[in-house]
């Protein structure tokens, strides 16, 4: 699948979502995994646009790449916003008490929390002047799906 390059504005979120949904559907992910992956990518893209580009007053693009094999789908977002550390923000939100009243909740970090917990592997790296955020979702191996199907069809002879 060709990479998608879009300007770092909120109007680009729809195109990014469509790209991720298309790839994930092609790979054969189930609906819940597709939703969570789309949410994860959407949250990180939103952070890059709002806190990376808009907050620092710079213009730039987001490039979204997809690569997949039999075992996994990997989505990578690349941007040229200043360095950021998603793990630090995630740690802050994780430390929040989930029973806290909504009106006392901190507004930051919710998106990254959902991003990190929505995929099988989440990683971040700084490469030159680029941030690379990587999302990995494992695909169920075809063989095990087939064996489940066989088991369901022939419950007495798995």
């Amino acid at each position: 699948m060709h990479p998608l390059t879009v300007p770092g504005t909120l109007d680009s979120l729809k195109a990014i979502a469509n790209y991720v949904i298309t790839v994930a559907t092609e790979v054969g992910l189930d609906k819940k995994s597709i939703y969570r992956l789309r949410l994860a990518v959407d949250e990180v893209a939103t952070n890059i646009i709002l806190h990376g580009y808009q907050a620092s007053g710079i213009q730039g693009n987001l490039q979204v790449n997809a690569a997949f094999d039999e075992s996994k789908l990997e989505i990578v977002i690349e941007d040229t916003t200043p360095l950021y550390d998603p793990y630090q923000t995630e740690a802050q939100i994780s430390a929040q008490d989930p029973s806290r009243p909504l009106e006392d909740r901190s507004l930051g970090g919710l998106g990254l929390y959902l991003a990190i917990h929505g995929v099988d592997q989440f990683s971040y790296e700084r490469l030159g002047d680029q941030n690379r955020t990587i999302f990995v979702v494992h695909c169920a191996p075809a063989t095990s799906q087939e064996s489940v199907a066989r088991t369901l069809q022939n419950p007495e002879h798995p």
């Binding site: 969570r36 949410l39 959407d42 646009i49 909504l102 009106e103 507004l107 919710l110 917990h117």
Partner: protein
């Protein structure tokens, strides 16, 4: 699907019906609808969400904003959220602070 938020007020209850996809680009529309209805002396806010197919954290931020506008003694009802939207509410602990119901009838509720 394009996001839409429409509101009405019945018996001092504000009802906002949400549909489509709620992300950071559409959240300002939801927020302005909340601002519009919470200007008045409400007893609760009801969000009809059966047709809301997607919600990002930008939507959760509007929930926090709504709660701050309403006051901590007023409830926010979430009516019939779709499975994955509910999943997000549960993961973030928001479900503890909302009243999640299958249906809501403003004419029979006190």
């Amino acid at each position: 699907m394009v996001f839409s938020a429409t509101s009405e007020i019945i018996n001092n209850t504000a009802i906002i019906t949400l549909s489509g996809e709620l992300d950071a680009s559409s959240a300002p529309d939801f927020k302005s609808e909340v601002e519009k209805v919470t200007e008045r002396g409400l007893i609760r806010l009801v969000l009809r969400m059966a047709d809301l197919d997607y919600m990002a954290s930008a939507g959760l931020r509007v929930f926090i904003f709504a709660k701050q506008k309403l006051g901590s003694d007023k409830e926010i009802y979430v009516v019939s959220p779709q499975e994955m939207v509910l999943d997000t509410l549960e993961k973030t602990g928001f479900h503890n602070r909302l009243v999640i119901v299958d249906s809501y009838d403003p004419t029979t509720s006190p």
